[in-house]
């Protein structure tokens, strides 16, 4: 058991090392543009990781996750526009409001399952999209431009790309660690049990709906956090961020990277965004090629996605 732990840990340390060294390497190569690009990838990674909570671990196909990301982004965006650039307040509110929306949407949606759940989460997210789109005061469909980034004090100048990168990296690492602890905790076990057999979980005494809802709200809050980071990174937010096709892209990231794994969403985000950037150099039709890649993954995955979905746990029960 111990040796399995350390081999996984080795991979994590390596990734962490690369991540930390990356901006310095880019500075040395005088390609600092990539630092900002990497931040964007990490932020999308966080959004995908938050979706994986409900999608991969929870086994709930929620098709409206972009709404929570967008809500987080708009919360911070509006606050900054209204003269409240304080990051502590902004980020906390972003997560809280996203969580509140998740609570309401989840309360209604989680009473359904299968096809209905997919369509209802989709519809509610689109509802939020239209809501945001119609608020002309904050840009409407043209979006909202920001003149500054969130201010956290502590000597952190988030306007500096490298500082921002490390800020994002730190938050991402903290979230990944938190999710890791979560899935090994009592709550996490129950969630995984519900994913295996919801009826059975209920039959041994777990109020399944309640647990799903709590998970859904957590995922929404984390999505909001990703949104708060996103609006900072782009200095801009538009309703397009909430469009259901964005939810689809997040799902694609989760699948590409390996659904139901801790950092699958992160790798998927990196792969997808890299593909986008690379293919866009040659053609504007990058979505065409990504579409085929995605199709291939879905169709050719060894045991179908269902096999990848719930990776076989090792004998000691660890994922």
């Amino acid at each position: 058991m111990k040796h399995m732990q350390t081999s996984r840990a080795w991979a994590w340390w390596l990734a962490a090392g690369v991540a930390v060294a990356f901006p310095f390497a880019m500075q040395a190569l005088d390609e600092t543009f990539y630092i900002s690009m990497a931040s964007r990838m990490l932020i999308y990674g966080l959004a995908a990781v938050s979706l994986n909570l409900v999608l991969g671990y929870g086994g709930l196909v929620s098709f409206g996750h972009a709404a929570f990301v967008g809500i987080g982004a708009y919360t911070v965006g509006i606050l900054i526009t209204e003269g409240v650039p304080n990051g502590w307040i902004g980020f906390a509110l972003a997560m809280a409001i996203a969580a509140a929306f998740a609570a309401v949407i989840g309360a209604v949606s989680l009473r359904t399952r299968g096809v209905y759940l997919i369509m209802i989460t989709l519809a509610f997210a689109q509802m939020v999209f239209y809501l945001v789109n119609s608020v002309k005061a904050y840009g409407g469909d043209e979006g909202l431009n920001l003149s500054e980034r969130s201010a956290f004090g502590l000597g952190l100048d988030l306007k500096d790309d490298t500082t921002f990168y490390f800020f994002v990296l730190a938050l991402l690492a903290a979230c990944l660690f938190g999710i890791h602890r979560l899935m090994h905790s009592r709550f996490g076990r129950v969630i995984l049990a519900i994913r295996d057999d919801e009826v059975r979980a209920e039959s041994i005494g777990y109020p399944v709906y309640r647990y799903k809802l709590i998970l859904f709200v957590m995922a929404g809050a984390l999505g909001g956090l990703a949104g708060a980071l996103m609006v900072n990174q782009q200095n801009y937010v538009s309703p397009n961020l909430l469009h259901w096709t964005q939810s689809g892209l997040l799902m694609v990231m989760v699948i590409l990277g390996g659904v139901g794994t801790l950092a699958g969403g992160l790798w998927g985000a990196i792969v997808l965004l890299t593909l986008e950037d690379v293919i866009s150099e040659y053609t504007i039709h990058w979505q065409f090629y990504v579409g085929w890649v995605l199709l291939a993954v879905v169709l050719l995955a060894p045991k179908g996605l269902a096999g990848l979905r719930w990776p076989r746990r090792r004998k000691d029960g660890r994922p």
């Binding site: 090994h184 059975r200 041994i204 004998k315």
Partner: protein
């Protein structure tokens, strides 16, 4: 057994009704289970046994009637609320947590009754108490050797044992066992019978079964369900002789059993005893009169 007869009912079902469109799956069923007794529920396929169990466990909403558990009306309660009060169920088609180990399956059930699971930080692996309780259950079920194996890797018979184990882990006072022997070979059946027999000391059991050997070995009382209604209920010997019951089964299982059990106190020839030695079954519900019209040809494949 005399205690079982005189103690107040642990589970009391009154006038339960369930319809699916025009089909009456549960037709004004009355039933009770006393503590320490094994009450078997038998009937041909399609009689509505699983529907009844589902209503008792809270998986299916009844259209009418009441379910009282330990004096409290639980009719409106959800499944998990009933489990919390000690009313647990095992399933006819095995439902296990396939990606968890055998021990972890049981640990999950133990966890449900050991305080809140709204804990988000501390690893479950650190909780010795859960693991110990699960291990104790494993011993009891005879599954210690497979403690670390995935539940999906067990043989069918072992899975059926674990199936009951999961229900048992919730520390029930009443167990609803839905065809525990389903698809199980003779050796495993013995094991299950032994396990269930032991369990009677700790909790009341409502046992739905087709395996007549097991039923007559274990049951203190038997209720017969045909087309959703109770046609007979009482001591096993009485049920054996009840012509309506025999006819309902078209003689196959029950009749074959009757032919074999020559050592019983009441040798039976269904035709001869129809008028004579017929002992009136202690029918708990007023549906005995339906037997004649219902008893033919309702054995579904």
């Amino acid at each position: 057994m005399s205690d079982a007869r005189t103690s107040p009912a642990l589970l009391q079902v009154q006038g339960l009704v369930k319809r699916f469109g025009a089909l009456v799956a549960t037709d004004h069923v009355d039933l009770d289970v006393r503590p320490g007794e094994i009450h078997a529920l038998i009937g041909p396929n399609g009689a509505g046994k699983t529907s009844l169990v589902a209503q008792l466990s809270g998986h299916l909403r009844s259209d009418a009637g009441r379910v009282r558990f330990d004096g409290t009306d639980v009719t409106a309660l959800s499944t998990h609320e009933r489990v919390a009060r000690g009313l647990a169920r095992s399933f006819q088609i095995t439902r296990l947590f396939k990606s968890f180990s055998v021990r972890d399956n049981l640990a999950l059930a133990v966890q449900a009754r050991s305080g809140s699971s709204l804990r988000f930080w501390r690893p479950v692996a650190a909780e010795r108490a859960l693991r110990d309780a699960a291990d104790a259950l494993l011993q009891r079920l005879g599954l210690q050797a497979q403690a670390d194996a995935l539940a999906s890797a067990l043989s069918h018979g072992e899975q059926r044992v674990l199936e009951i184990g999961l229900a048992l882990a919730t520390q029930p006072r009443l167990l609803l066992l839905d065809e525990p022997m389903a698809g199980v070979g003779p050796d495993e059946t013995q094991r299950l019978v032994g396990l269930i027999d032991e369990l009677r000391r700790e909790c009341g059991i409502l046992l739905v079964e087709h395996d007549m050997d097991a039923v007559f070995r274990l049951a203190d009382r038997i209720t017969v369900l045909v087309n959703g209604a109770v046609i007979a209920s009482g001591a096993p010997e009485a049920i054996r002789q009840d012509p309506q019951v025999v006819a309902a089964y078209l003689g196959e299982d029950l009749g074959a059993h009757l032919a074999q059990t020559t050592e019983t106190a009441h040798p039976v020839h269904p035709v001869q005893t129809a008028q004579g030695a017929h002992t009136a079954p202690s029918v708990e519900g007023a549906t005995a009169g339906h037997g004649d019209t219902r008893a033919d040809g309702d054995r579904h494949g």
